[in-house]
């Protein structure tokens, strides 16, 4: 549970003389009702998203337009950004850490690109509710579209990043393998995981702005705790290896690297576990979000 009790979770009290018609339910009934209520909230949340596809579409469009507004080369930055980070990490790993990894740029690109998708989506989504405070106080709409559209916009950017991955294969044509076709599956698992966190944190951030600052640092630490600029095999057996085993991104990033760099199959078992975890988290965060969303208009 959240570290606070929200005003709207308390049952509506009825003045004794005003409405005797609404009788008190027996406690057993109430318990049952609340349990059903959780399921209903999650379903309603999913329905919010399904019925507002057009709104999601517009929001993603404006999000994308905003990120590179007033730049000379505009959307080309989506292709260039990943190259720059790949170049930086290549220099860091090969020159500074003196690690000799064959085809290091591809080794790094395969994991850094999806990681940046996760990180920017999550951080953008976290502030998506607070950024729309004005609108929330004026129009009644399902607030779930806000974190959802942020993560979708991030996904489009990731799609463009994949184009630059394709460009990189011109340099390393020998690394192309049919396993690359499984990339959408890995990305789908990652998206489910990202969306779950994005929904949860965007809702909680409306109440505690600390979250957005905390997450900025947490994701940075998380990056180094994930096998993005190194591989898991280097740490097998150590205590840090155990920590890695608990990190969903170990399985996600390893799978990406398998298909894009080693030309082997993704870690199916690991991915399935992450998918299962993500779906549970997704249901939980939609439930939390739906419960606290009525409070947004009061505090933003």
């Amino acid at each position: 549970m959240l570290p606070f009790r929200l005003p709207m979770t308390t049952p509506a009290r009825v003045a004794p003389d005003a409405r005797p018609a609404v009788a008190q339910r027996p406690p057993g009934f109430r318990e049952l009702f609340l349990r059903l209520d959780g399921v209903r909230l999650v379903l309603r949340g999913l329905q919010d998203l399904r019925t507002r596809v057009r709104l999601l579409q517009y929001l993603v469009g404006t999000d994308l337009k905003r990120t590179h507004a007033d730049t000379v080369i505009g959307q080309l930055w989506w292709l260039i950004d990943p190259f720059f980070s790949m170049a930086i990490y290549s220099i860091l790993v090969t020159v500074v850490f003196q690690r000799s990894i064959p085809d290091a740029p591809l080794f790094l690109f395969a994991t850094i690109l999806p990681w940046q998708w996760f990180q920017t989506s999550l951080l953008d989504a976290t502030t998506s509710v607070t950024a729309r405070g004005n609108l929330i106080r004026q129009i009644q709409f399902p607030k779930l579209v806000l974190p959802a559209s942020s993560t979708l916009a991030g996904t489009i950017t990731f799609g463009f990043g994949l184009l630059s991955l394709a460009v990189l294969y011109l340099v390393y044509p020998g690394r192309i393998s049919p396993w690359l076709l499984t990339l959408p599956l890995i990305a789908a698992v990652q998206y489910a995981f990202t969306l779950a966190l994005a929904i949860f944190f965007s809702g909680v951030n409306a109440f505690y702005r600390d979250i957005q600052n905390l997450l900025r640092h947490a994701t940075r630490i998380w990056f180094y705790m994930s096998p993005a600029i190194y591989s898991v095999t280097a740490l097998k057996g150590s205590i840090f290896g155990v920590v890695l085993g608990l990190n969903p991104f170990t399985y996600i990033l390893t799978s990406y690297r398998n298909i894009a760099y080693y030309g082997t199959s993704p870690d199916w078992v690991g991915l399935s576990a992450v998918l299962l975890l993500s779906l549970v988290l997704l249901a939980f965060s939609i439930w939390v979000f739906k419960r606290i969303e009525t409070g947004f208009a009061k505090i933003l």
Binding site: R5, R13, Q138, I139, Q140, D210
Partner: protein, 278 residues
């Protein structure tokens, strides 16, 4: 179903603000609070409480009261933006959005795109919105700026576009806040014409105002609110009389208190009530 015969059915409505959250406390403070003592009732400010009224179709309700009485909160609750914390609120038909749109614009995209975006936020069907767009643009009357980013708009242009979008669809239940005088003389005349048009088409109206005359003129019922509660409910003229009487009595009382203070040689304080009702 019982209760559906009313356009608006408000029963014992209460809306409260959690003062600790609105104060934008940090996690640390809230955790300490949570560990220390459980939620107590003094954490809350009831912006509305025990508000109870029903409006039938064809009726028009005026809402009077000093600043901070909860009038705007009532409108927000009726618009569905604030959820009741107590009691119930039932509305039959499509409620208008608040007509003060404009702050919700997306600055980096054009006015045209904002029309589509806000229409989608309001839940208006895409096809309907596409048909309405030309008339929205025409009414806003901002010329070629419609295709420029909204951040380049003047505040008047923003207000005009916001009003134009908000009033594009005639609602069943019209919520009006009197603080509407935006734009130049010409636009004000046109917007008043449009409001009159919406008024004639609405099935029920809630008008929040300080203008006592317009309550008597437009409404067939009025309530007086103070401190989040309904103090008086009845015929517009009777409510207005009650309100005026109350203000008179308060002034008299204040004058009396001041006289007493002056007699006791104390300095006279500036009353908040006095400021509010001025």
């Amino acid at each position: 179903m019982p209760g559906t015969s009313y356009a608006i059915d408000v029963r014992d409505l209460g809306v409260r603000y959690n003062l600790h959250l609105t104060r934008r406390t940090t996690l640390k403070g809230s955790l300490a609070e949570w560990v220390g003592r459980r939620q107590r009732d003094d954490h809350y400010f009831w912006a509305l409480r025990h508000v109870d009224f029903r409006i039938e179709h064809g009726e028009s309700l005026g809402v009077l009261g000093p600043n901070g009485a909860g009038k705007s909160t009532l409108l927000l609750a009726l618009a569905g933006i604030l959820a009741p914390d107590e009691g119930s609120l039932r509305i039959s038909g499509r409620v208008s959005s608040l007509l003060t749109l404009g702050a919700g614009f997306e600055m980096e995209v054009s006015g045209r795109e904002n029309i589509a975006l806000i229409g989608a936020f309001m839940g208006i069907r895409h096809r309907v919105m596409r048909e309405l767009t030309p008339s929205i643009i025409e009414f806003a009357d901002i010329g070629p700026f419609i295709d420029a980013p909204v951040r380049t708009y003047s505040s008047g242009m923003r207000a005009r576009l916001g009003f134009s979008i908000a009033t594009a669809i005639a609602p069943d239940i019209l919520l009006l806040d009197e603080v509407l005088g935006t734009g130049d003389e010409e636009f004000r005349a046109r917007s008043q014409q449009r409001i009159r048009d919406l008024v004639s088409r609405a099935r029920a109206i809630v008008l929040v105002t300080h203008d006592l005359n317009s309550v008597a003129e437009y409404c067939n019922r009025a309530i007086l609110m103070e401190y989040g509660q309904v103090l008086y409910q009845g015929e517009p003229t009777a409510t207005v009389e009650f309100y005026k009487d109350r203000v008179r009595k308060r002034k008299a009382r204040l004058a009396e208190e001041e006289a007493e203070r002056a007699a006791a040689g104390m300095p006279s304080p500036v009353s908040l009530d006095q400021l509010a009702s001025s």
